[in-house]
């Protein structure tokens, strides 16, 4: 009994770390350009399929796959920012949100066109590491997911802390006008934030694809990322990490115990939405979010 519980917690922890990774992409865009990126889940979708293409179709080794996928993600992020988001700078919230929803639709359409909306499996192609803690065995995919997410998040943190553009991004999040007056180009910051979001999305997609295979349902991970973001507070990277882990564990435990009791099953799918509604009603700014004070 205890083993079952701990098993769920451990796999949930690894899953949550991947959620956190994806959610960070969302938070970075939001902090830098105040755009809500609904298409974050579709970056994951594209990532999952890219993993299939590079690993299976082209037969590349894992490191080359990651490299190629990241390159593709960078190009994708730059194109999206320049073509779709740039013309809408300064438009109302709804316009920006709708444009990212439309972007999500288009990415979904492209994935359908290129990969045929089919299930593409490639587990077993990622390296296998087995780890046993007492009686709990950590699945290889979870472990890889955990390691890659932690590495990516660390690189991202270092990037934001020590590079010039990273500092510029953090400054933009604080105050756009000040940043512009010291000569930092806001458009560069926006572009980099979209690139980061698409890169972390694609990495998350490859990791999740390694667990469950690439299919159109990967896009729904984006919705879980929103729950993570809301729980952690929309403008807190640390919050996203903590909330991602909490949500991953909660979801796994709840699904593990409650799914056999419910006729239709599929609790894991709606679980994030219940979390969302509860957070929105009782603590709209999340665990670590900034409480906005509005004045006329």
């Amino acid at each position: 009994m205890m083993t079952f519980f701990l098993q769920l917690v451990v796999t949930g922890f690894a899953l949550g770390m991947i959620y956190a990774l994806i959610a960070i992409g969302f938070v970075i865009i939001l902090k830098c350009s105040e755009a809500f990126n609904i298409a974050q889940g579709h970056f994951v979708l594209i990532g999952g399929y890219l993993g299939y293409t590079f690993l299976v179709t082209f037969g590349l080794p894992v490191w080359a796959t990651l490299l190629m996928a990241i390159l593709t993600a960078i190009i994708m992020g730059l194109l999206i920012e320049r073509l779709i988001l740039r013309p809408l700078v300064g438009q109302p919230v709804l316009a920006v949100i709708m444009v990212t929803i439309a972007l999500a639709t288009i990415l979904g359409g492209l994935a359908t066109l290129i990969w045929g909306a089919e299930y593409k499996a490639y587990h077993g192609l990622l390296p296998t590491i087995t780890l046993k803690i007492g009686e709990i065995s950590v699945p290889s995919e979870s472990l890889i997911g955990l390691i890659v997410s932690i590495v990516t998040v660390t690189i991202l943190m270092l990037f934001l802390r020590y590079t010039k553009i990273g500092l510029a991004m953090r400054a933009t999040a604080e105050d756009l006008q000040v940043v512009q007056s010291v000569g930092i180009k806001a458009t560069t910051v926006y572009a980099v934030s979209w690139v980061i979001a698409s890169v972390v999305g694609v990495i998350g997609g490859i990791l999740l694809g390694g667990v469950s295979g690439a299919n159109m349902e990967l896009a729904e991970i984006g919705l879980k990322a929103f729950a993570v973001v809301l729980l952690g507070g929309v403008n807190s990277i640390g919050g996203a990490i903590v909330a991602g882990i909490i949500l991953g564990m909660l979801e796994n435990v709840a699904a593990g115990y409650l799914d056999p009791l419910l006729p239709g099953g599929g609790l894991a799918k709606v679980f994030p939405f219940f979390v969302m509604i509860i957070v929105l009603i009782f603590r709209p700014y999340g665990l670590f979010g900034l409480v906005r004070i509005e004045r006329i």
């Binding site: 809500f36 779709i84 013309p87 809408l88 438009q91 919230v93 709804l94 316009a95 949100i97 709708m98 444009v99 929803i101 439309a102 972007l103 999500a104 639709t105 288009i106 979904g108 359409g109 492209l110 359908t112 066109l113 045929g116 909306a117 919705l223 929103f226 809301l230 929309v234 419910l262 006729p263 239709g264 599929g266 799918k269 709606v270 939405f273 219940f274 969302m276 509604i277 929105l280 009603i281 709209p284 509005e294 004045r295 006329i296």
Partner: protein, 349 residues
């Protein structure tokens, strides 16, 4: 607005009237005559398309009141349609209610669901509210699947053919008239709701909610009213949709439809009753075009081309309108009218 010399208004009632000139009335009667005689010269397929347009118009009116006028963005509209549709379907199929009782009951149920999911809107707005309504969509559909004994779950639920009195609404023509009657009624009602105190309060809340509150508009009451009215519209549309197919299934209310209704609103022009109609008609016709072109493209390129064409064109249309015509077709239409009103002596700006 219109300031032609010959339209002299002598009373406030005349000034406020929706149809002010003889030309307006003429166009109205021509349009109603067109609707009445449609079955004479349209094929069954065309009638089906027009019925679907009518249902979309009703639904988009609801969304327009909620999002376009009151500024409470909802991406869960298909979910609320599902509530209304399923409620009336269950009343008809399980409890044997007549259609004309079940439909308003369904609409009311949808309105109450709207009130429940509208509660977060009292504390949150913008992106947070969007998330809450997306959550509403998924929770509603999940609940419908879970309540298998009542709703039929994922298998769906067959509903008897609707009748009103002794008139069976099973034929396409009868149902077309029913939907058109509802669509016209919905349009008139939507137009008039916006001219009441509530309507003006909605607009004030949309433009600046804090200022509205300071002026003495109860945000609590009016936001919930907007949710209620918008979702009642959705409920009517959902009931009509389910009774049209005589079958209730969750596939009739996918998440993408919620997005697509918002797309209709953007293409038509937010905060305008005419715009809501224009957007619904334009995008439904575009959908039909895609269904026609899709198989040809599928045969020519790849089997999945049709599905991806639908998705990509939906996304592109929304993006193009947001970037190049954010005020929608309605605004463009007003510009064209203004141009011809002064023609040939018009001068720009």
């Amino acid at each position: 607005m219109s300031s032609r010399v010959i339209t002299v208004q002598e009373s406030y009632a005349q000034d406020l009237a929706i149809f002010r000139t003889k030309f307006h009335w003429g166009v109205l009667f021509a349009f109603l005559l067109f609707l009445l005689t449609c079955p004479l010269f349209f094929s069954d397929r065309m009638l089906t398309i027009m019925t679907m347009i009518g249902i979309a118009v009703i639904s988009v009116h609801g969304l327009n009141i909620l999002t376009g006028y009151c500024g409470q963005i909802s991406i869960g509209h298909a979910g609320f349609m599902a509530v209304g549709g399923y409620a009336s379907a269950i009343l008809c199929a399980k409890l044997g209610f007549p259609f004309w009782v079940a439909l308003p009951c369904g609409a009311l149920t949808a309105g109450i669901a709207g009130l429940i999911f509208g509660l977060p809107s009292l504390k949150i707005k913008g992106f947070y509210l969007i998330m809450a309504t997306i959550a509403a969509q998924f929770i509603i559909i999940w609940t419908i699947i879970q309540l298998r004994s009542i709703t039929g779950g994922a298998d769906g639920l067959s509903v008897p053919k609707p009748t009103i009195g002794s008139i069976a609404l099973s034929s396409k023509i009868n149902y077309f008239y029913l939907v058109m009657a509802f669509a016209c009624l919905a349009t008139i009602l939507a137009k008039n709701i916006m001219r009441t105190r509530a309507g003006r309060a909605f607009i004030a809340i949309r433009d600046n909610d804090l200022a509205a509150e300071v002026m003495g508009i109860s945000l609590w009451s009016y936001k919930l009213q907007a949710f209620f009215i918008g979702c009642v519209y959705a409920g009517v549309a959902g009931s009509l949709l389910i009774h049209y197919y005589s079958f209730a299934s969750i596939d009739q209310f996918p998440f993408m439809d919620s997005v697509w209704y918002l797309g209709m609103l953007i293409v038509g022009g937010m905060g305008s009753t005419t715009g809501a109609v224009m957007g619904a008609v334009a995008l439904r016709l575009l959908d039909e075009l895609i269904t026609m072109v899709g198989p040809i493209l599928s045969a020519a390129v790849a089997p999945q081309a049709a599905a991806s064409l639908a998705l990509i064109s939906h996304g592109l249309i929304i993006i193009i309108f947001l970037i190049f015509e954010p005020r929608g077709l309605h605004h463009r239409w007003e510009m064209v009218k203004a141009y011809f009103r002064l023609w040939p002596f018009s001068h720009e700006e």
